[in-house]
C-alpha cells in the first residue's frame, strides 16, 4: 500500500477529448501514455517518479479496460528488459525509473535494446534527480543517451509540452527504430497545471496478437555479427531519420529567431527559468514573449546540425543554457559550428557555472552578463532585479541560528531502534566498519546516530563490505540492507556473494515490509495482502535458500535489548561464515495508515481500544538529553525547563507520539533515567475495569500528597 493514494485523482485519466485536465505533472504523463495507445508500462519506484508508479497502480482498473499491462518491476533492469516486447512487435511500451541511479541499473538492458532497435515505440521516462531535493550523486542521464544512442527529450516544463513529448516520443521512436528517453526534472514531476485532454486510445495490435503470433528476426538480436550491423544502422539510418523527424515534427522550438543578432540555446527543461530571467531583466513579458531569440531544445540528443546552423547563422553569439556537467551540448555545438565554419561565438559555461543547479538566480546572472556583452542598450541598469545585485548584509546574522534539518526516521519508525541497539553494542565492543545501502535506513549516517561509512548503491550494502575482512582481525564488518534493496538485487549480489566467498561479516536486513523510502510500495515480502501482486514471501527463507546457516529473525525491532544482544552475538560468536539478522517491523507510517482508521472506527462503535503514548517527567529529567542522542525521534524533543532553577531544556514527548515503545526500551537497555513513562488510555473499558480503576484511584488518593 503506497504512501499516497491517487484513487480519486486517477478518475481524471478517463477524461475525453476537449476536457480540461487539471493536476500534477506525473498524472499528466500517465494520461499522455493512455492517449498514445500504450500497450504496457513497467517501472521501479524512486523519487521523483514514484508517484507515476503509484498513479498507475491505483489506475489498474482503467489500464485493464484499455488492455494495458502494468508491472511493478523487480528492478530498473527488469523494467528496461520489458521493452523487449517492442523489438519484434508493433507494441508501444513505456518504462519509468529514477535517474541516473535507476538508469545505471537498467543500462545493460537499455544498451541491448538500443543496439538492435525497436519496431513499436519504446519510451523510457526518467525522473532526473538533480539539484535541490535530490537524494543521489549529481550526474546526467544525457551520458546514457549518448553512449547507447537513445534519443533524449527534455520538454519545456508545462503540462501541454510534457504531454506532447510523450505522444511525439512514441512516434519518434517508431520512425527511427530507436528507444526514446524522456527526461523529467524533479519540479516538473510535481508541478500542478492544466492541459486539454484527448481520448484514450486502445492499442490496435494487442499483446494477445503478439503472444499468439510469435515473431523473431535474428538480425535484431545482440550477437555478432548483427552487432556490427546495428552500429552501422545507428549512424547510416537511425540518426538521419531522427534529424528528419525532429525537423518535420518541429520538436524543437524557436522563438523570435531574428529579433537580435545574438540568442540563447537552451534545454527545454530550462525554458521557464530562462523566461523568468529574461522577464526580470525586462527582456520578456509574463507570457514569455521575448526580445531575444530563443532556440529551445526539447530534444537534447541528438542535436540537428541543420537547425543549429540556421539558428546561429548571422548571429554574433549564442549563450548555451545547459544544466549539469560535462557540457555535452556546448561541446557538440562548438563542433557543429566549427565544421560549418560559422564564426558565431558560443558562451555557456564561461558565463554560467560548470556545475550545480541552474536556479533562476544563477541563470539570470548569466543572461545579464551575456546581454551586457552583446546588447547592453537593452538593459535598464536602474531597474535590475535584486538578485543580480551584490547581496546586502542582512541586519541580523542568522548563520548560527538557522540549522540544517536533514531528513530522518519518522516518529515510531521501526528502524530507529536497530541503530539505537547498534550504538549500545558499539559502546561495549568499540566502533565497527558499517557498510550502508540505499533506503530510509541510510538516515543512520546522520545525527544522532552518525553510523555508517559508505553506500555503494541499492542492494549493495553487503557487497560493499566484501573486502573488509581479514584473518588477522577478530572484528567483523556490519552491513545494512533494506528489504527493498534485498529483493532488488541484494539477495544475489550481497547474500549469494557472501556465501560463495565465505564471508565472515554480518548483514542486518531491515525489513519494514515496504520499499518505504520511495513511498511505501509493496514488495515480495510485504506482510499485507495485495489484490494484484504476490506478497508474504519470507526473507529468512530466501537467505537460507542460498546457503546462509547463521540466521536470526527479530520480529519486534523495538525490543532494543534483544536487538542489542543479537548484534553482540553476531559480532562475537566463534562460528565463522556469513551471518544474517532479519530485523522485521512494519513501517510505522504504513501501519498507521492501515490500522488508524480501523482503530478509530472500533472506538466509535464502543469497542475497547487502547491508545499508547510516552511521556517524560520534567521534574526528574536533568536535561542531559542522552535519550535523544539514542533516538532522534521527531516526537521526542526538548521543552523549556519548568523549573526556574534549571536552565537546560528538558526532554519532552509531544503529541505526535504513537507509543512505539522505543523510549521505554532505550531507557531500560541503556539504563538512562527514570523519567520515561507510558500512558495507556483505554476507551470503552469494561464495567469490571472501570470498577477496579475507581477502587484503585480511591486507595491511591488516600496516600497521595
Amino acid at each position: 500500500m503506497a504512501e499516497r493514494s491517487f484513487k480519486k485523482e486517477v478518475e481524471k485519466l478517463r477524461l475525453g477529448a476537449g476536457a480540461e485536465f487539471r493536476g500534477e505533472g506525473i498524472l499528466a504523463v500517465a494520461k499522455a501514455l493512455l492517449q498514445s495507445g500504450v500497450s504496457y508500462v513497467a517501472g521501479y519506484q524512486g523519487a521523483p517518479i514514484s508517484h507515476l508508479m503509484d498513479v498507475l497502480a491505483d489506475a489498474n482498473d482503467i489500464l485493464e479496460e484499455l488492455g494495458v499491462h502494468f508491472e511493478q518491476s523487480a528492478s530498473e533492469a527488469a523494467a528496461a528488459a520489458a521493452l523487449a516486447a517492442s523489438v519484434n512487435y508493433p507494441l508501444r511500451g513505456a518504462v519509468t525509473f529514477k535517474s541516473t541511479v535507476g538508469t545505471n541499473v537498467a543500462s545493460d538492458a537499455l544498451a541491448n535494446l538500443a543496439s538492435g532497435g525497436v519496431l513499436g515505440g519504446a519510451l523510457i521516462i526518467v525522473g532526473e534527480d538533480y539539484g535541490e531535493g535530490s537524494s543521489i550523486m549529481q550526474e546526467r542521464s544525457h551520458a546514457f543517451a549518448m553512449k547507447s544512442q537513445i534519443w533524449l527529450l527534455d520538454p519545456r516544463p508545462n503540462l501541454p509540452s510534457i504531454v506532447r513529448a510523450v505522444e511525439d516520443g512514441f512516434d519518434f521512436s517508431e520512425a527511427t527504430h530507436t528507444p526514446v528517453m524522456l527526461e523529467l526534472r524533479i519540479r516538473a514531476c510535481h508541478l500542478r497545471g492544466r492541459f486539454v485532454a484527448k481520448d484514450n486510445v486502445r492499442p490496435k495490435f494487442t499483446r494477445k496478437d503478439a503472444i499468439e503470433n510469435p515473431a523473431r528476426d535474428a538480425s535484431r538480436i545482440v550477437l555478432p555479427p548483427s552487432t556490427y550491423l546495428h552500429e552501422q544502422e545507428k549512424i547510416a539510418e537511425r540518426w538521419p531519420a531522427a534529424a528528419r523527424f525532429i525537423q518535420d515534427r518541429g520538436l524543437n522550438e524557436i522563438f523570435h529567431a531574428s529579433a537580435r543578432d545574438f540568442g540563447v540555446i537552451l534545454q527545454g527543461g530550462m525554458y521557464n527559468t530562462v523566461a523568468r530571467g529574461l522577464q526580470l531583466l525586462g527582456l520578456a513579458d509574463v507570457f514569455g514573449d521575448t526580445k531575444i531569440p530563443l532556440y529551445v531544445l526539447n530534444v537534447t540528443y541528438p542535436l540537428v546540425d541543420e537547425e543549429v546552423k540556421r539558428f546561429c547563422g548571422g548571429k554574433r553569439a549564442v549563450l548555451v543554457v545547459e544544466e549539469g556537467q560535462p557540457d555535452f551540448l556546448e561541446q557538440n555545438l562548438h563542433a557543429i559550428l566549427r565544421k560549418a565554419e560559422l564564426a558565431t561565438r558560443i558562451h555557456g559555461k564561461d558565463l554560467l557555472p560548470m556545475a550545480g543547479e541552474y536556479t533562476p538566480s544563477v541563470v539570470t546572472g548569466g543572461l545579464l552578463k551575456f546581454v551586457e556583452k552583446y546588447g547592453p542598450e537593452l538593459i535598464d541598469r536602474a531597474r535590475l532585479p535584486g538578485l543580480v545585485k551584490p547581496l546586502p548584509l542582512p541586519p541580523v546574522q542568522l548563520d548560527r541560528h538557522v540549522q540544517p534539518r536533514p531528513p530522518s526516521f519518522c516518529t515510531g519508525c521501526p528502524e530507529r531502534p536497530i541503530f539505537t541497539a547498534l550504538k549500545l553494542v558499539e559502546r561495549e565492543l568499540g566502533p565497527h566498519h558499517v557498510s550502508c545501502d540505499i533506503g530510509c535506513h541510510l538516515f543512520s549516517i546522520l545525527p544522532p546516530f552518525n553510523t555508517g561509512a559508505t553506500t555503494m548503491g541499492y542492494g549493495l550494502g553487503w557487497a560493499g563490505a566484501a573486502a573488509l575482512q581479514s584473518p588477522d582481525s577478530r572484528k567483523r564488518a556490519i552491513a545494512f540492507m533494506g528489504d527493498g534493496g534485498f529483493w532488488h538485487n541484494g539477495l544475489t549480489s550481497g547474500v549469494g556473494n557472501a556465501v560463495f566467498n565465505r564471508s565472515d561479516s554480518v548483514l542486518v536486513v531491515v525489513d519494514n515490509s515496504y520499499t518505504a523510502a520511495t513511498g511505501g510500495q509493496d514488495l515480495l515480502s510485504s506482510r499485507g495482502a495485495n489484490p494484484l501482486r504476490t506478497t508474504r514471501q519470507s526473507i529468512a527463507d530466501a537467505v537460507r535458500g542460498v546457503g546462509v546457516r547463521w540466521i536470526r529473525t527479530i520480529d519486534r525491532t523495538y525490543d532494543v535489548g534483544r536487538m542489542r544482544d543479537t548484534l553482540r552475538e553476531a559480532l562475537t560468536t566463534a562460528e565463522r561464515g556469513p551471518k544474517v539478522i532479519v530485523a522485521r517491523s512494519e513501517c510505522a507510517l504504513n501501519r498507521e495508515r492501515r490500522e488508524g482508521p480501523a482503530r478509530r472506527k472500533a472506538a466509535g462503535q464502543g469497542r475497547r481500544v487502547v491508545r499508547q503514548r510516552f511521556g517524560v517527567d520534567a521534574e526528574t529529567c536533568t536535561g542531559d538529553h542522552s535519550c535523544i542522542r539514542l533516538s532522534g525521534c521527531p516526537s521526542l524533543t526538548i521543552a523549556p525547563n519548568p523549573d526556574p532553577l534549571r536552565s537546560d531544556p528538558v526532554a519532552a514527548v509531544i503529541e505526535s507520539c504513537i507509543g512505539c515503545g522505543l523510549c521505554g526500551e532505550a531507557a531500560h537497555a541503556a539504563a538512562l533515567c527514570p523519567s520515561f513513562y507510558r500512558v495507556d488510555t483505554i476507551s470503552n473499558p469494561s464495567a469490571w475495569e472501570r470498577f477496579a480503576w475507581r477502587l484503585r484511584q480511591t486507595v491511591i488518593g488516600w496516600l497521595q500528597r
Binding site: 519540479r187 536533514p406 542531559d624 537497555a669
Partner: protein, 486 residues
C-alpha cells in the same frame, strides 16, 4: 511589452505538516477565482521530517495565452512567504526569499527543534529573539503568531491556521469566503480545518506571560533570607529553599543558607557569584536519588497533568507505567554506608537489577512500591550517597570561596561547573569525572585567562558524551617542572 508579473508564494514547511495541502488549497482557490496557478514542490526524502519548500505562482487567466511560471522561488521576488515554524522563517530570510520591498511573511512562532538543538548536552537552542528580529527586519509585513498552538486548540493542523492568516493578511486578491470554499472543496476534515482557519484568521499577537509568583517557604527561612542575604538573591534563595524543604525538610534548607554565607561574603553587588552558586548548590543538594524519583512519581498533581496530556475523554481510563532501571549502585546509594557497600560487593543484587522494570503507578501494587520508597526520606541523611555528595559540595564551595578572593570571574566559572553534574547512571558518572578533572585543573590556574580556561573546559565537557573533547582540551598530563627555561 506589459509590466505584469505573477503573484508568488513560497511555503516553508516540514514533512508531515500539511504544506502540500496548503499549496493545493491556494492553487484551487486561485483557479476558481479565474487565475492560472502553478504549484511545485520537492517531496522525495524531504517527506521524512526534513524541510521542504512548496512554491506557487498565480496570474489572472488570459484568453489563449498561458503565462510562463517559474518552478522555483527567486530571491527578492516573493510576495508571500508562509513559514510553518520559526527557524523555517529564519531559513526563508537567510535564503533571501523575504525582502523589505515586497514580502509579507506569515510565520508561526513555535519551535520544532532541530536535531542539533535537541541532542546538545546542555542548552543548544537557537535564540528565538534573534530569529524574530531577523524576520521583522527582512519582511515588508510580518505576521508572527503561534499558529501551532491555535491549530492544536481547534484539534486541527497548522496548515489550516496559516491559510486563515493568509486570508486575513489580504495580500491575495480574494475574499475570505473564497478561502473557506477551497477548504470545503478539498473535502477532507473540513469542519476541523475551518475551525483552525478561523483561529488563524482572527489571531492576535499574544501578551507576554506574567512572571510566576515566588513560592511559599517557612516563615523562619523567609526571615533569614531577607535579613542575611542581599535582595538580588532573594528570588533564587526562596526557590531554592522551597525546593529543599520539599526535598528533605526545613532544617536542610537552613543548612543550605549556612553553606552560602561564605559565598555571600566573598561576593559583591550585584552578586552574580552568589546567585549562580545559590542556584547550583540548591540543585546539587537536591540530587536525584531513588527516594526523590519515587516521591515525584506518586504525586497527585503529576497524575492530573498526565491525564490532561493524554486528552482522556470522560469515561476513559488512564494507566501510567513507569520505566525504571534502578541498578545496584542506586540501591546502595540510599542505604546506610555499611549496608550499601555490602550491596555493591554482592553479585546477586547486580544480577537482580540487570533488567529494567515497568511499574504501574496507577495500580495499588505499583504505587505502594514507590510510596514506601518515598517514605524513606528521613533515612536519606544517613545514606551512602548523602555523605559522599555533602563532602564534594564542601570541597566545591571552599574552592569557590578561595578563588573569589583572587579572581571573582574564576570563582563564577567554577560555580557554573556544577552544571556538569546531572543525569543518571553512566551519564552522571561521566559528568562527575569531567567535573573533577576541571576542578583539579582550576586549582593550578591563576592570573589572567584562568576564568576563560575553565569556561572553555566546561564547554568542552558539554561537547560530547564520551569525554573526548574535554580530554583533548585538557591536553596530555603535564610534566612536573617546566622545561622551557633550558
Amino acid at each position: 511589452m506589459t509590466e505584469q508579473r505573477p503573484v508568488t508564494i513560497a511555503i516553508l514547511a516540514m514533512g508531515g505538516e500539511g504544506g502540500g495541502v496548503l499549496a493545493d488549497w491556494i492553487a484551487d482557490l486561485a483557479e476558481h477565482a479565474g487565475y492560472d496557478a502553478q504549484a511545485t514542490s520537492v517531496p522525495g526524502v524531504a517527506q521524512r521530517t526534513g524541510s521542504t519548500i512548496y512554491y506557487l505562482e498565480i496570474f489572472p487567466r488570459a484568453a489563449g495565452r498561458q503565462p510562463v511560471f517559474s518552478l522555483t522561488p527567486v530571491p527578492g521576488e516573493v510576495d508571500v512567504v508562509i513559514a510553518s515554524e520559526l527557524m523555517e522563517a529564519g531559513r526563508a530570510v537567510q535564503r533571501g526569499l523575504v525582502t523589505p520591498d515586497r514580502t509579507v511573511l506569515i510565520a508561526s512562532t513555535h519551535r520544532v527543534y532541530s536535531i542539533a538543538e535537541k541532542s546538545a548536552m546542555a542548552d543548544g537552542r537557537a535564540d528565538p529573539a534573534k530569529l524574530l528580529q531577523a524576520c521583522s527586519a527582512a519582511a515588508r509585513v510580518l505576521i508572527a503568531r503561534d499558529f501551532a498552538r491555535l491549530a492544536a486548540g481547534t484539534r486541527s493542523v497548522i496548515s489550516a491556521a496559516l491559510f486563515g492568516a493568509l486570508a486575513a493578511s489580504r495580500v491575495l486578491p480574494f475574499e475570505r469566503d473564497r478561502f473557506e470554499e477551497a477548504i470545503r472543496r478539498a473535502g477532507v476534515g473540513v469542519e476541523a480545518s475551518l475551525r483552525a482557519f478561523r483561529s488563524g484568521f482572527d489571531a492576535e499577537p499574544e501578551p507576554p506571560e506574567p512572571a510566576p509568583e515566588p513560592p511559599q517557604v517557612p516563615e523562619a527561612i523567609a526571615h533569614r533570607i531577607e535579613s542575611e542575604f542581599p535582595q538580588e538573591s532573594w528570588t533564587t534563595l526562596r526557590l531554592a529553599a522551597h525546593r529543599l524543604v520539599d526535598y528533605q525538610d526545613p532544617a536542610y534548607a537552613a543548612e543550605y543558607l549556612n553553606r552560602l554565607a561564605a559565598v555571600r561574603d566573598a561576593d559583591d553587588h550585584p552578586f552574580p557569584l552568589l546567585n549562580e552558586a545559590a542556584r547550583q548548590l540548591a540543585l546539587w543538594m537536591s540530587y536525584e536519588d531513588a527516594i526523590r524519583v519515587a516521591d515525584l512519581k506518586i504525586r497527585k498533581a503529576r497524575a492530573g497533568r498526565i491525564q490532561k496530556e493524554a486528552r482522556a475523554e470522560p469515561g476513559e481510563i488512564v494507566r501510567i507505567h513507569e520505566f525504571l532501571h534502578p541498578r545496584a549502585q542506586e540501591i546502595a546509594d540510599i542505604l546506610p554506608p555499611a549496608l550499601g557497600r555490602r550491596v555493591l560487593a554482592s553479585g546477586w543484587v547486580r544480577r537482580l537489577t540487570k533488567r529494567g522494570r515497568i511499574v504501574e503507578t496507577t495500580s495499588i501494587h505499583g504505587f505502594l512500591q514507590l510510596y514506601f520508597l518515598a517514605r524513606m526520606r528521613p533515612l536519606r541523611r544517613r545514606s551512602l550517597r548523602f555523605a559522599r555528595e555533602q563532602e564534594k559540595i564542601g570541597e566545591w564551595l571552599a574552592l569557590i570561596v578561595r578563588a573569589a578572593a583572587r579572581d571573582r570571574e574564576l570563582a563564577l566559572e567554577i560555580a557554573r561547573c556544577a552544571q556538569l553534574l546531572k543525569g543518571y547512571g553512566a551519564a552522571r558518572l561521566l559528568g562527575e569525572r569531567n567535573f573533577d578533572a576541571i576542578l583539579a585543573e582550576s586549582r593550578t590556574l591563576g592570573g589572567a585567562g584562568a576564568a576563560e580556561r575553565v569556561r572553555i573546559l566546561r564547554e568542552a565537557a558539554l561537547a560530547d558524551d564520551t569525554g573526548e573533547t574535554l580530554r583533548n582540551a585538557l591536553g596530555p598530563p603535564r610534566p612536573l617542572r617546566s622545561e622551557s627555561g633550558k
